[in-house]
């Protein structure tokens, strides 16, 4: 027996541990220690996430204000980083968005969960308000340099330039070095991060893939980028339509849990219960409520009570009654679509595309949530994709490219369950099809169910996978129509070759077997020539008609796109500026000409910059249809920036004449 065990029982009892002080930590502290959860798990992902968050914010803000976005991204290496395998990088993302009101700057860049979009049930790219603050935190952690922001709204005369730090203790943004400056544009935002990271350009998780993905699903965006090693490239917008993101519909009661239902009720205070049910939810009409009340035998007087005076017990019984009632599925009006025509134009910006098929499904309900699926399949030439390699899959959720954790994603699951062989593609069993194709799938919904906080993978429910499958199959059928025409052409060509290869062998063998003289051989050759000549002619006619059919199909597609583009331009040309725009343009005109010229330089840069390697003939073919307009636009920019003779260009523009000069010069940035 040990000494210890011999001690009296009272002494044996363990002493209560000294209670540690329970402390609260701020949201910012939490995220600063868990940056990997929001896309900053490695130096490579940090760069990509920073660009992504800034771009998402720009695109969302432009869409909210009806602005056609011009986004310019510059990443420069400034030397080696202190972390292993990293560089010290300067990342600048610059837009012509609405700008950020001064009071919001610190919140946007320095405060976590500060968002104008959280829980609004709209199809916006960003939702929670975490990403860009996390980028600021990463920059502070790796280089101790705050983010530099220049922003200007149209109401401000001068732009505000400042640095933002994150006060981790209090989850607040701190503004430093605030100045007002003259800026080269009427409105916009430019952010500059100095951070350590690594730029990965290629591969599915690479920056180029991300940017190309954004180019595809944002046909209304002009994107210019300058990246280490690849230099500069510009993708001009292919449509003048800013997507309209519909407002959210009221929540559907069947999508709510009891706690949410009760909390929702408390937001409505004295509102009558009936009014709350009718206006606070979708698909709840007076008739539905009356029928439900009868069917579930609820007390009639409850409906006239104010929501705040209804007990939890009664609300619970109302909740149960609602759940037991069959309601119409939620509305699909809250989703935003890219559209087949816009996507068709956009897909050609991706590279040397020799053929593509797009399919836009009608909005539908999956897992009780409105959703819309769009698919584009493009065959690429010279993109370095080997025939035996899997197709390149571009995934999008609310028009944001998804680049990680591909295998578990609903989109990839749907692709692998489609039988692509029946559409003319090669496909190993239960795997992605192979070949030089880009397969882009976009899912838009105000409630996308992600598998993780960093929004990299869409949860694969059976209903969603089936909906994606249908879209893929629709695009696949269009693809197969094209491929079958190609196969026919190839087949006919092969047949012609057959004649040339096999005909002489046939005659020679027959002559040998029958031991016939040369005279017969010559005669047979002549006869064969006549027969096969007829066949060759016929085969060539068929081949020509197959090729004509293919050309006609391509021409029809081009015409359709031209009509779409013309309609787009006509709409744009005929639209008179709004009073706000007139005001803005006048204000701009009163400023000194430097802003116009510096803006012109931006445009000029993009014109003078080496053309994107990816912008190839097929793209130009399509765009050549609009060449006069394009040339005019370029000339205008050049004139405005280099010679200051915007007047000449302005004369070509319609009313209002007084503002035409500026309006023309600003056209790309300020059309809406």
């Amino acid at each position: 027996m040990t000494k210890k065990s011999a001690k009296p029982a009272a002494e044996e009892a363990p002493k209560p541990r000294a209670s540690k002080k329970i402390t609260s930590s701020s949201t910012a502290e939490y995220f600063s220690k868990n940056l990997q959860q929001v896309g900053f798990s490695s130096p490579t992902k940090a760069v990509l996430t920073t660009v992504k968050e800034a771009m998402d914010n720009s695109l969302d803000a432009c869409e909210d204000h009806g602005i056609l976005p011009n986004i310019n991204i510059v990443i420069e290496k400034m030397g080696a980083g202190t972390m292993k395998n990293t560089d010290r990088l300067k990342i600048v993302i610059d837009d012509n968005g609405p700008g950020i009101p001064e009071n919001d700057i610190a919140k946007v860049f320095g405060e976590y969960l500060a968002s104008s979009k959280f829980g609004r049930g709209r199809c916006s790219r960003g939702q929670q308000g975490i990403g860009i603050s996390a980028a600021t935190t990463w920059a502070l952690q790796t280089t101790a340099t705050p983010v530099r922001v220049i922003t200007k709204t149209k109401d401000q005369r001068k732009a505000i330039s400042c640095s933002i730090e994150v006060d981790l203790k209090n989850n607040k943004g701190i503004v430093r070095d605030r100045q007002t400056i003259d800026w080269d544009r009427n409105h916009g935002t430019s952010v500059e991060f100095i951070m350590e990271g690594r730029v990965q350009l290629n591969g599915e998780a690479g920056l180029l893939s991300y940017l190309r993905g954004n180019v595809l699903v944002n046909p209304h965006m002009t994107l210019t980028y300058t990246l280490p090693e690849v230099g500069s490239a510009t993708y001009e917008r292919v449509t003048q339509d800013v997507p309209h993101v519909p407002d959210a519909t009221e929540p559907h009661p069947h999508t709510m849990k009891l706690g949410e239902f009760l909390a929702h009720a408390r937001l409505f205070g004295r509102t009558k219960l009936q009014t709350w049910l009718k206006t606070g939810f979708s698909r709840m009409s007076d008739k539905v409520i009356t029928d439900m009340w009868k069917a579930q035998s609820l007390p009639a007087n409850l409906l006239d009570k104010g929501v705040e005076s209804v007990s939890d017990e009664s609300l619970k019984s109302v909740y149960a009654a609602v759940q037991a009632t069959q309601l119409m599925a939620p509305s699909t009006q809250s989703v935003v679509s890219i559209g087949e025509d816009a996507m068709s134009l956009s897909v050609e910006r991706l590279g040397e595309i020799d053929f593509f098929a797009v399919a836009t499904r009608k909005p539908t309900i999956c897992d009780f949530k409105p959703i819309q699926v769009e698919v584009a399949i493009a065959r690429v030439h010279g993109a370095g994709i080997d025939g035996d390699e899997p197709v390149q899959v571009l995934r999008f959720a609310n028009r944001v490219p998804l680049q990680f954790d591909k295998a578990a994603c609903a989109i990839v699951k749907a692709i692998t369950t489609v039988n692509w062989r029946s559409y003319g593609l090669r496909q190993p069993k239960d795997a992605l099809p192979t070949g030089p194709y880009i397969l882009a799938v976009s899912i838009v919904s105000p409630f996308i169910k992600f598998k993780n906080a960093s929004k990299e993978t869409i949860d694969a429910s059976d209903e969603l996978v089936e909906e994606i499958r249908r879209a893929l199959m629709q695009a696949g059928q269009r693809l197969s129509r094209h491929l079958s025409r190609e196969t026919k052409a190839a087949d006919l060509e092969e047949k012609i070759q057959h004649i040339e290869k096999f005909g002489p062998v046939l005659v020679d063998t027959l002559v040998r077997i029958t031991k016939s003289p040369d005279k017969r051989k010559t005669a047979a050759y002549e006869g064969l020539k006549k027969i096969l000549g007829r066949d060759t002619d016929e085969a060539q006619t068929k081949l020509a008609s197959a090729e004509t059919a293919l050309d006609e199909a391509n021409l029809a597609r081009k015409k359709r796109l031209k009509a779409f583009r013309d309609e787009d331009s006509a709409l744009e040309a005929s639209r008179a500026p709004t009073p706000e725009e007139l005001e803005a343009m006048e204000a701009e005109a009163s400023e000194d000409s430097s802003s116009e010229e510096s803006f012109g330089e931006v445009s000029g840069d993009s014109d003078d910059a080496p053309k994107s390697k990816k912008k190839k003939k097929s793209d130009e073919d399509i765009l050549s249809v609009f060449a006069p307009e394009k040339t005019k636009s370029k000339a205008t920019k050049k004139d405005a920036s280099k010679k200051g003779t915007a007047k000449k260009a302005a004369e070509k523009k319609p009313e209002p004449k007084t503002t035409a000069k500026k309006a023309t010069a600003k056209a790309p940035a300020n059309k809406k």
Binding site: L506, L510, I513, A524, I531
Partner: protein
């Protein structure tokens, strides 16, 4: 045209040679006249199969497969003529080759002459198809073109049978099966060169699906106790087995019985082929089928009568599933099973299709597990009582 002697087979092949040369000459003449040559072959498929119980085997109908020279068929036609040249050379010299060897012979020819490269066969299936097409075109067995298959099955046991084989040099070899000990006699793929004689009256012949079961019966003294011939078919009967049983039927005129598993595959692919030939061999069924063979069992009623162990068909098994599907088709479209004289067999096939049961020939050994002669006893009992179809 000199007559050509095939030393191995001891047979003059001039008819086939003449037919082939006439065909080639006709093609050449057509070409000289700028007319498209047409090759016609008998369509060897079930929809061109006729059955008349008085004839006893499946015969070809009028349907022909025509191949006219055009852009699509020029490859097939050139390949056919190319392979025909090789086969004719074999006939001239008396050489033989199986299909695999012919595939390599063609490869060798192409290697030597680069102009022929376009004719190259990617695999043996392609060259086999051409050989079959040639046979169908000139309505000859491939053995008649000196292209032989592997001799499989047909191991024969008897204490009474004597076989005389005419050899290629005209000499004769006499084989007394009772003198072979435990070794069986095995016929060749062209048993037409064999003459059969019985030393003593032979009461019946039995063809057993399983080579192993045939061996067991003989080892246990079946052929000692009964004046008979036992033939193991080793599954689907080869040309050798089919021609050999036909020879036994025609020359000895004894009752013949087939004993095998009770399942759709055995009934359609093994027994029907033995008795009436097959749709794919329409042009040679006359020499390669024995219409007198009766189906001894296993019969559906045997299962109950002898309390045999049967089991359900595994439809997931590719072969069994396919056979069951084919059974339904056979009942509707196969002229053999639709013939009134074969109603009994059609009923068995229908029973198999509906009940999806099967019973193996070896199940007889479960009737008296300690009696090694139990299968023999049941077989004899069934023959005596006429318990067959």
């Amino acid at each position: 045209m000199p007559s050509v002697h095939s030393p191995r087979k001891g047979r003059i092949n001039t008819d086939i040679m003449k037919q082939c040369l006439a065909l080639c000459d006709h093609m050449l003449t057509d070409l000289e006249k700028a007319k498209r040559p047409v090759l016609k072959a008998t369509k060897c498929s079930l929809d061109n199969s006729l059955y008349d119980h008085r004839v006893g085997f499946l015969t070809p109908g009028d349907k022909k497969v025509s191949t006219e020279l055009n852009v699509s068929s020029v490859k097939k036609m050139s390949r056919s003529v190319f392979m025909l040249e090789i086969l004719l050379r074999n006939l001239e010299t008396g050489n033989v080759a199986n299909k695999r060897e012919l595939y390599y012979v063609s490869k060798g020819e192409i290697k030597q002459n680069p102009l022929l490269k376009a004719l190259d066969f990617a695999d043996q299936d392609e060259s086999d198809e051409v050989i079959d097409f040639i046979c169908e075109m000139i309505e000859a067995y491939r053995e008649e073109l000196n292209c032989f298959a592997n001799d499989r099955g047909g191991q024969t046991y008897s204490q009474q049978l004597v076989v005389t084989e005419t050899l290629s040099d005209g000499a004769q070899a006499v084989i007394d099966l009772s003198q072979l000990g435990t070794s069986p006699f095995q016929p060749k793929n062209r048993p037409q060169n064999l003459t059969l004689k019985a030393k003593k009256k032979i009461d019946f012949g039995i063809i057993i699906e399983s080579e192993g079961t045939a061996n067991t019966l003989v080892a246990n003294g079946f052929t000692k106790r009964h004046n008979c011939i036992v033939v193991g078919s080793q599954g689907v009967p080869s040309n050798a087995v089919r021609g050999w049983v036909k020879r036994i039927q025609d020359q000895l005129k004894i009752p013949l019985y087939f004993f095998g598993d009770l399942d759709a595959y055995t009934l359609q692919n093994i027994y029907r082929t033995l008795k009436a030939g097959s749709a794919s061999s329409l042009i040679r069924n006359s020499d390669f089928s024995a219409p007198e063979v009766r189906f001894l069992g296993v019969l559906p009623e045997d299962i109950k009568k002898y309390d045999l162990n049967d089991y359900s068909v595994n439809e997931k098994d590719a072969q069994e599933g396919r056979a069951l599907k084919k059974a339904k088709d056979a009942l509707q479209n196969d002229p053999f099973f639709r013939d009134k004289r074969n109603k009994g067999l059609a009923e068995i096939l229908e029973w198999l299709y509906k009940n999806k049961r099967r019973c193996e020939q070896q199940a007889y050994y479960s009737v008296a597990p300690r009696d090694p002669q139990i299968a023999e006893k049941i077989i004899i009992e069934k023959i005596k009582k006429g318990n067959y179809v």
